[in-house]
Amino acid sequence: MMTLKVNGRDHQVDAEADTPLLYVLRDDLALNAAKFGCGLGQCGACTVIVDGKAVLSCVTPLLLLEGKQVTTLEGLGSIETPAPIQRAFIEEQAAQCGYCIAGMMMRAQALLQRNAKPTDDEIRAEMEPHLCRCGTHMRILRAIRRAAHLMQTADASTVQRSAQ
């Protein structure tokens, strides 16, 4: 039994230590967003954020996550109150089948958390590990740029509100 912190909550997880985080998220915690794509760290569909960094959960065993903060797409926002990155993907209609999208969004989120105004080249370089088979890339790039804008606007309004 191990304690795993996911989306701000502690979970007692009864899984073997070599179990990749992806299976714990999906199977033990019933979280849908991180997807099994390859199990080899080649496609990015399983990406989550661990301590602020984008991590391929299909090749990250549970034993490496003691004391770390795991964030999945579910931890950013919900269908009722979407986070800026989620709003941006909806507004740009940046999905076809959508299977790769949750992983894409998590890496983009991690990027925007450390670099609020990435250039287009920086976004492309950052997204390099991720595959999309439907060819939604143009919209994904647009959505990430929109998310950057939304996050700045959100930050600005938060600052404004707290100043009042």
């Binding site: 849908n32 993907f89 299977y99 999309c132 088979r133 890339h137 143009m138 790039l141």
Partner: protein, 742 residues
């Protein structure tokens, strides 16, 4: 024909609704005729599933459900269908829900394939919804004893001139909608559309971007267990030995299933199943046979396998030779659907009924195949479509459904979820078939094509289920089902010969289809079927001919094309791209153009592109693409644009990077390392899609129209950039560099 008329009459005798009279009248006239001519069929899939309540149901609380036998594959048609139904029913978009393919609830619309969903199911829903609206108006008219013209519909209600209003739920009673559709409907004037033609946001996207349950992969039924299959290492491999005793003792393992060459393991938790699968795989010894052809010699392989030859076009005297002649051969390798999510299914065998949740493109054909495999009556098998990762044709979906069913039969009452591993999807999915085309043509003195000869060699482009023999599990059982005899898909849609007949006006032309029955590599339907390679070939060759004619490629195409919609699409793409005669691309760049009408009967698409080539490494990059599309009446412009953008990028990936690799025994492209596809560093700077809407004209579908034009446009731009013509797909950086160096 049965049923509806009686239902109608019962209602009509009581009332005086204009439309209902017309229902009974047409039948009465038909009855009076000694030898009734066959009645015209209602449009779309109403022709095969004519009852209106198969498509639209209205409950007493006015809630409305729309049914389609097609499967949402990420194309976004669930949203488009909801728009169509809302428009014709005059209800708010959000008030409807759409139920997709389910053998227990929806019409049998065969496969969701061939860009048919809009024309088959969209058309059926549009007409059914319009006819339901008319029935509701007629019922209100009957109740108030007023002419139907005195009523209008709005926001889910029928409203009389004096403002008296009936909700749809008030009006619908009993079997009122259980009537057969009429051949024609009182459709809305496109000028008045409020929901159709607008970029309504897709209904499925919010759940997909917030971690909602969106895919069959996300299903968690109570008590569900996890299974993994161990597939043979190669086609035809026989299981020689397998000691399962150690695997059975592994943590969480509930069962090892062995049936001939079919091997699977079931465990409580998913990763336990994965670990047990690895152990089971290690415990298995297989006897393999070298059956595969030479991967690097597909031209010879395909043209020397026995084939059935059929001339599918013979016009004028194709042997006539003009002044300047040209010949060329184009090849396409086997290519992978490459779904990002390996195939998955959930099955449960309870009380003698097998229920399978699957991302198949055909729930009814899968039901038939699974029933046959399990020796069960089809009525005891239910297949329910749940979305999967995009499939782009016949991938592992149906096989995973069969796997789940075969395993679930061993664990009655227990829901079993099976997901394939990456290497299983890459090695066992049925690939897009390799193809060869040989072209020969000549020009007269004025630069007009005088004769045209086109030959294509190909396997079938559909080995989809229907029978059990199409499914791997059934092929691998101890009492195996034989792979069915392959058949060519007949024209006008065609398979290997899809789009093999040119759309251009050539006075003398011959097209021959060499259908190859033997399938050394497992193949089936992949997005656009033969059209991808045939359009790539025709449109590359058109550019080559334009070159020797000294003509601008766009002008050269227009010179040979009468179809006004085709001409408009070409002109639109050229104009929005900024194409002009005598244009000069910047250094190391090239411009390309291509056009096709998908299947010669569906959507029109032209693509202009600009590519960049690194002359040292040969690396190609699509810089920008501009497409114009005429898909008939547009329902959701943003959805359509999304489809075409995706088609261009996916086709670019096929065209520049992709080929399945194999040695004499095994498929060796087993993952994304060995089967590279498009990554972000090669994504274009811009992709523009311009739609030409055709209000009131039939839906033409759009899922596959972009594949061929995008491929040829890029190939033509590469030729323009390098001065070298590449004809052997994929157009890799090595081939480009070798051509530049040659």
């Amino acid at each position: 024909m049965n049923g509806p008329v009686i239902l109608d009459r019962r209602r009509v005798l009581a009332g005086s609704g204009a439309l209902i009279v017309s229902f009974s009248l047409s039948r009465a006239l038909a009855d009076d005729q000694a030898a009734p001519s066959p009645a015209p069929k209602p449009p779309g899939s109403l022709a095969t599933t004519p009852f209106l309540d198969s498509w639209v149901r209205i409950d007493a609380d006015s809630s409305i459900t729309v049914f389609t036998g097609k499967a949402e594959l990420g194309q976004g048609f669930r949203t488009a269908f909801q728009q169509i139904a809302a428009e014709e029913l005059d209800v708010p978009f959000a008030s409807l829900k759409v139920i997709t393919a389910d053998t227990g609830r929806t019409a049998n619309e065969g496969y969701t394939a061939g860009s048919h969903s809009m024309q088959d199911s969209g058309t059926a829903i549009q007409n059914a919804a319009a006819q339901v609206r008319n029935l509701l108006v007629a019922e209100a008219a009957r109740r108030l004893n007023l002419p139907a013209e005195n009523f209008r519909t709005e926001n889910g209600a029928v409203i009389a001139l004096d403002g008296q209003s009936f909700s749809y739920g008030d009006l619908v009673a009993g079997d009122m909608l259980h009537v057969q559709a009429q051949p024609t409907s009182n459709l809305k004037d496109p000028e008045t559309y409020k929901v159709m033609g607008r970029p309504v946001p897709r209904v499925d996207i919010p759940a997909k971007v917030t971690g909602g349950a969106a895919y069959v992969h996300d299903m968690r039924l109570p008590g569900m267990v996890h299974a993994r299959v161990v597939r043979p290492p190669s086609y035809g491999a026989q299981l020689a030995e397998c000691d399962i005793s150690a695997v059975e003792k592994l943590p969480g393992v509930l069962k090892v299933v062995r049936d001939g060459n079919f091997l699977a393991v079931v465990a409580k938790k998913e990763f336990q199943a994965v670990k047990a699968m690895t152990a089971l795989s290690a415990a298995a010894t297989w006897k393999e046979t070298a059956t595969l052809p030479k991967q690097n010699d597909l031209l010879r392989v395909l043209t020397s396998l026995p084939s059935q030859e059929k001339t599918i076009l013979q016009r004028g005297n194709p042997a006539a030779a003009g002044e300047k002649a040209l010949e060329a051969t184009y090849t396409r390798p086997y290519q992978s659907h490459g779904s990002i999510g390996p195939s998955c299914a959930v099955a449960q065998f309870t009380d003698g009924v097998m229920t399978v949740w699957t991302h198949t493109q055909g729930v009814y054909p899968d039901r038939q195949g699974i029933a046959e495999m399990l020796a069960m009556p089809p009525a005891r098998v239910r297949c329910i479509h749940v979305e999967g990762s995009g499939c782009y044709g016949h991938n592992g979906a149906d096989d995973a459904a069969a796997d789940a069913a075969l395993i679930a039969r061993e664990l009655p009452g227990v829901p079993v979820r099976v997901q394939w591993m990456r290497e299983q999807e890459h090695t066992w999915e049925p690939f897009g078939p390799a193809m060869v085309t040989k072209l020969k043509a000549s020009l007269d003195g004025s630069g007009v094509i005088r004769d045209w000869n086109f030959e294509v060699w190909s396997n079938t482009h559909s080995m989809r289920p229907g029978g059990a023999g199409s499914m791997l599990a059934a092929q691998h059982m101890a009492k195996p089902f034989a792979v069915p005899e392959p058949r060519p898909i007949p024209l006008p849609e065609g398979g290997g010969d899809r789009n093999a007949i040119p759309i251009y006006n050539f006075p003398n032309a011959k097209v021959v289809h060499h259908f190859i029955p033997a399938m050394p590599v497992r193949v089936s339907a992949m997005r656009a079927l033969g059209a991808y390679h045939n359009v790539f070939s025709i449109e590359s060759f058109m550019d080559e001919l334009a070159g020797i004619a000294g003509a601008d490629p766009v002008e050269f195409r227009l010179r040979h094309l009468d179809d006004p919609r085709g001409r408009e699409v070409i002109e639109k793409a050229a104009q929005t791209f900024g194409w002009h005669k005598g244009q000069q691309a910047p250094p190391n760049r090239g411009f390309g153009f291509a056009f096709a009408r998908y299947k010669n009967l569906a959507a029109y698409c032209a693509v202009a592109s600009e590519v960049e080539v690194n002359r040292q490494t040969g690396r190609p990059r699509l810089v920008r693409a501009v497409a114009a599309v005429d898909s008939g009446q547009v329902v959701n412009p943003d959805g359509l644009i999304n489809q075409i953008e995706g088609a261009i990028l996916q086709s670019m990936s096929w065209t520049l990077y992709e080929s399945v690799t194999f040695d004499d025994t095994r498929i060796t492209s087993i993952d994304w390392q060995t089967y590279p596809i498009l990554r972000f560093n090669s994504v274009p700077d811009s992709v523009e899609v311009h739609l030409i809407n055709r209000p009131g004209l039939p839906f033409l579908g759009s899922g596959e129209t972009g594949q061929g034009p995008a491929a040829a446009s890029i190939a033509n731009a590469l030729a323009n950039a390098t001065g070298k013509r590449l004809r052997d797909l994929p157009l890799t950086r090595k081939k480009i560099r070798d051509a530049i160096d040659a």
